[in-house]
């Protein structure tokens, strides 16, 4: 061995001492239990080691091949959003006592993480209007699929209904997940870019475990949860809502409308876009489903002296205890991103989160009105939050290529998932200035006019 690896502390002398203690002559002896015919000869066919300075340079160059939102104002949303992250978030996140720890199995030396999760659970409950939240899920999409599986298991019914205005990736993952236990996933058509309640009424039956809608939905429109809940409840189906947590600062809570499970992704609150991950799914339920919730949950308790403390609790649901009878197979989650989100929600605070949401609402409204003034058609008939769909006279793909040339990242192309190739889903967050919005519209106008 050489001393060229900064993560490997053994000196030649250290090794010799350890080998002597083991009474063996070489490390190879420790690998003789591997059958000789499968022991690797020679080195792995991967590149040689790179020094820290050269690697840093290489990674900076690689990153520079990507066009990023600091230099290209982005109007992409569709589940991942460019929101401001207060500086205090990342500074706290870099406390290595958080990021180099694992799941808090030893509560006496993990009170920091445990309390942070307890606070996260509280904030998620506050935003969603639900009773109980877990410590996080992989992302909003997989969280939705887990919600559907919970509904199927707890109702012993075998079909879920999901609105086509739920994120296409959520629906795709739901299809994959459902193939495991083998329950049916039926999609509900749309009318004017919101869930068609008549259709829903026809498709729902006594075998329906859950009705799933998104709030605001994939097209940005705000679904009328009161009406959906009514139909679900009449048929004894669970009501599952996938909600954007930032929008919930202004919108009536799913809990208020009687949602049984609320899921979504905390990415809008404190988590970088990072090419789609890691983000942070959340999972909240009404009290009735507390003992069926997947994943880790932190609870408050006390030590022998009566001092308040926090522990992982209700573990009888989990894989490490129940094995094949567990409510889910989830083990690792997204704890660090849940922490990021908690710090962000603390920094925004009770007033700030409403202000941020209000800015999103106002900017999207301004952009839509300005587009209409220039003769563009806005597809949404229902009210929207920070996203809406604009109709273009040519394929979105072509338009986006021209926008990039003008230094702008355009909206989401509805062609691949909905066959609407001339429709663009635009997200306008608080990060976009009036100037940037005006520039977008100017370029769109130029494209249209040839």
């Amino acid at each position: 061995m050489s001393n060229t690896y900064r993560y490997l502390p053994d000196t030649t002398q250290d090794q010799e001492e350890m080998l002597a203690a083991l009474n063996i002559s070489s490390i190879d002896v420790l690998f003789e239990d591997i059958p000789a015919e499968i022991r690797l000869q020679g080195e792995l066919a991967i590149p040689d080691a790179v020094s820290e300075p050269l690697l840093m340079k290489k990674m900076i160059q690689l990153s520079a091949k990507n066009k990023n939102a600091n230099h290209y104002p982005t109007f992409l949303g569709a589940g991942t959003y460019d929101h401001y992250i207060p500086n205090v978030v990342d500074h706290m996140l870099l406390r290595s006592e958080f990021y180099t720890a694992y799941t808090p199995y030893q509560p006496e030396i993990s009170q920091g993480e445990l309390q942070a999760i307890f606070e996260f659970q509280t904030m998620v409950c506050e935003l969603t209007g639900m009773d109980v939240a877990n410590s996080s899920m992989y992302d909003g999409f997989t969280s939705l699929a887990e919600a559907a599986s919970l509904a199927v298991a707890s109702t012993r019914r075998s079909k879920v209904l999901v609105s086509k205005a739920v994120h296409p990736e959520s629906r795709a993952i739901l299809q994959t997940v459902a193939a495991g236990p083998g329950y049916a996933v039926e999609e509900v058509n749309l009318v004017n870019e919101v869930t068609d309640l008549n259709q829903l009424g026809q498709q729902i039956d006594k075998n329906t475990a859950a009705v799933i809608v998104q709030y605001p939905n994939f097209f940005g429109s705000i679904e009328d949860l009161a009406e959906v809940k009514k139909i679900a409840a009449e048929n004894g189906a669970l009501f599952i809502v996938s909600a954007n947590p930032l929008a919930l600062a202004l919108l009536q809570t799913p809990g208020h409308f009687g949602a049984d499970i609320v899921v979504g992704d905390m990415q809008p609150l404190g988590i970088p876009m990072s090419f789609g991950g890691p983000h942070c799914g959340y999972f909240a339920v009404s009290k009735k489903y507390m003992r069926k919730i997947p994943g880790r949950i932190v609870g408050q308790t006390e030590d022998e002296s009566g001092k308040r403390g926090f522990v992982l609790t209700l573990q009888a649901r989990e894989q490490h205890i129940r094995r094949d009878k567990a409510t889910s197979n989830i083990c690792s989650n997204q704890a660090l991103n849940a922490l990021a989100s908690s710090i962000c929600m603390s920094a925004l605070g009770k007033q700030g989160i409403r202000r941020m949401a209000q800015l999103n609402f106002e900017k999207a409204d301004y952009a839509a009105k300005a587009l209409e003034k220039k003769g563009f058609t806005i597809i949404n008939k229902a009210p929207f939050f920070n996203e809406f769909v604009v109709e273009l006279p040519c394929p979105v793909k072509e338009v986006n290529a021209k926008l990039i040339k003008a230094g702008i990242i355009g909206g989401f192309d509805l062609g691949k998932d909905y066959g609407l190739e001339n429709q663009m889903l635009l997200a306008v967050t608080e990060q976009r200035t009036k100037e940037e919005i005006d520039k977008l519209i100017e370029v769109l106008e130029a494209v249209v006019n040839g």
């Binding site: 982005t74 926090f310 989830i330």
Partner: protein, 496 residues
């Protein structure tokens, strides 16, 4: 020093702010003009109202009540708590990686796709597989992804196979993932050497066997020496072999799951490849497969056409999507940076050092604790606290006593087939001095058990809080802060 025990909600004061946003530059819009009244939130979310310094102090105080690898030794078996390199954190935060949107046109994210493509290729080499998907977010999701491919593979051949075989020493996620994928789990007992009992295995393998899930080295830290015979038995019956990569830190550059006969592999990048554990996540659980399973891999796949990296969604036999976008990119990026740092020789030395450390530490501890298995171990080993239990001290007590010395305890009471189990994984990044110091403390505790057991039974003595009442937490769950309820509890406490 004054103890700080407040919740962020308890330091909140109406009117304080921890961040500020610009004024609207597009004018004001009244929500009431746009939305029907019943869709407008009437009661605001009770988020805290705190200043930026209060936030910094609060989370710094919390971090001080947390033990991470940077604080001290963390020999948590099966979790591979190795050093989390700082360059990884810097790289993941570069704006060209952290500030890109997953739906940007592929021409604008070629650097990110290059990282994914090369990582796929290199993980395939490291595992001896033919192709890799990076989508799964963690080991458990990788297991489920692999098992869904098993299902699709058998279905395509017109076969219905319902059973997944799992050794009794397996991680709980193995049987749980099998259930989620719609299989029935059959548990295979270990033999007296801690290895899969080949005769028992033969009894259970049959035409209904979908797959055998195996960790190798297994969770006892022992290499399954009969792996080639095991593979033959399963393959002959038409089943597939699934490799749980939780313990891959023992075999880098020494052997590959591919050569052992495995058809599917997952790796835990947050373990072997230094993605930080983050207090529970995020992780990444890429899955590699042999050629016959490539058609079933999740979409989209990251591919290279001429000099361009592209996303391929068009694979008719694919099991579909398993995770949003392209996986936990930020964690994948850290693993990529780590592999570049270590290179081919370095990765081999990682496993050599990890295995040397485990054997050395076991050698030092063997005289003082029962060591149920005597053969060479790989990157981790188990001890049993049964000798101490006879003296009235349980493994849990010894684990708590370790806290007094600034160590995170080993994994305890797992695997389930070892009484009073302690599972110790030192990792390659710890120095010999650290291993020796830890061994000294373990030996001291073993002596305390004999001479002064109460000091162990009453541990921990130095932590910010004593042993917590877990039964109470589960029986009367308090899972969130409610101001009024908290005040009521405080009053009750004062009265008592």
């Amino acid at each position: 020093m004054v103890e700080y025990n407040d919740l962020i909600f308890e330091i909140s004061r109406q009117g304080r702010v921890g961040s500020n946003l610009p004024e609207s530059d597009v004018g004001h819009v009244d929500l009431q003009d746009k939305l029907p009244k019943h869709l407008i939130r009437d009661v605001p979310a009770e988020l805290p109202e705190v200043s930026e310094l209060q936030i910094a102090r609060h989370y710094t105080a919390l971090s001080n009540k947390n033990h991470g690898i940077d604080n001290g030794f963390y020999p948590l078996g099966s979790c591979t708590m190795k050093y989390n390199p700082k360059i990884n954190e810097t790289v993941a935060r570069l704006e060209g990686f952290s500030r890109i949107h997953p739906y940007q046109p592929v021409e604008t994210v070629q650097g990110a796709l290059e990282v994914l493509y090369e990582l796929q290729e290199e993980l395939a080499v490291i595992t001896g597989m033919d192709a890799v998907t990076l989508q799964p977010s963690a080991g458990a999701q990788g297991e489920w992804t692999g098992l869904m491919m098993v299902k699709a593979y058998h279905a395509q051949k017109g076969e219905t196979r319902t059973k997944v075989l799992v050794p009794d020493s397996a991680h709980g996620t193995n049987p749980a993932s099998a259930t989620v994928a719609g299989f029935e789990t059959i548990t295979i007992p270990s033999n007296k050497n801690g290895l899969v009992d080949l005769e028992e295995l033969k009894k259970h393998v049959g035409s209904d066997t979908a797959a055998l899930m195996l960790t190798n080295p297994n969770t006892l830290g022992l290499f399954e020496t009969e792996i080639l015979e095991i593979a033959e038995v399963v393959h002959e019956a038409g089943g597939l072999l699934y490799y749980d990569g939780a313990n891959a830190n023992a075999i880098l550059g020494k052997t590959t799951p591919g050569s052992m006969g495995f058809d599917i592999v997952h790796l835990n990048l947050h373990k072997t490849f230094t993605g930080p554990h983050g207090g529970g996540g995020p992780g990444a659980g890429p899955v590699g497969v042999k050629a016959k399973l490539i058609p079933y891999l999740p979409v989209p796949r990251v591919e290279k056409e001429n000099d361009q990296y592209v996303l391929n969604y068009n694979e008719p036999l694919s099991i579909g999507r398993v995770k949003g976008y392209y996986g936990n990119f930020g964690i994948l990026l850290r693993a990529y940076t780590y592999i570049r740092t270590m290179g081919n020789v370095g990765l081999r030395e990682v496993s050599e050092s990890a295995v040397l450390h485990a054997n050395y530490l076991r050698k030092r501890l063997e005289p003082y604790f029962d060591a149920p298995y005597s053969q060479v171990c790989k990157h981790e080993f188990v001890l049993s606290g049964s000798r101490q239990k006879k003296l009235g001290v349980r493994t849990l007590d010894m684990a708590k006593r370790l806290l007094d010395f600034g160590y995170h305890p080993p994994t305890i009471y797992f695997p389930l087939n070892v009484e009073e189990c302690l599972m110790i994984e030192p990792t390659e990044t710890e120095s010999k001095e650290t291993l020796d110091a830890f061994a000294d403390v373990m030996i001291q505790i073993a002596k305390e058990v004999e001479e002064n057991p109460s000091v162990v039974l009453e541990a921990p003595h130095t932590t910010v809080i004593g042993r917590l009442d877990e039964v109470k937490a589960a029986r009367q769950p308090i899972l969130r802060y409610v101001k009024e309820e908290a005040a009521e509890r405080e009053k009750e406490f004062a009265r008592s």
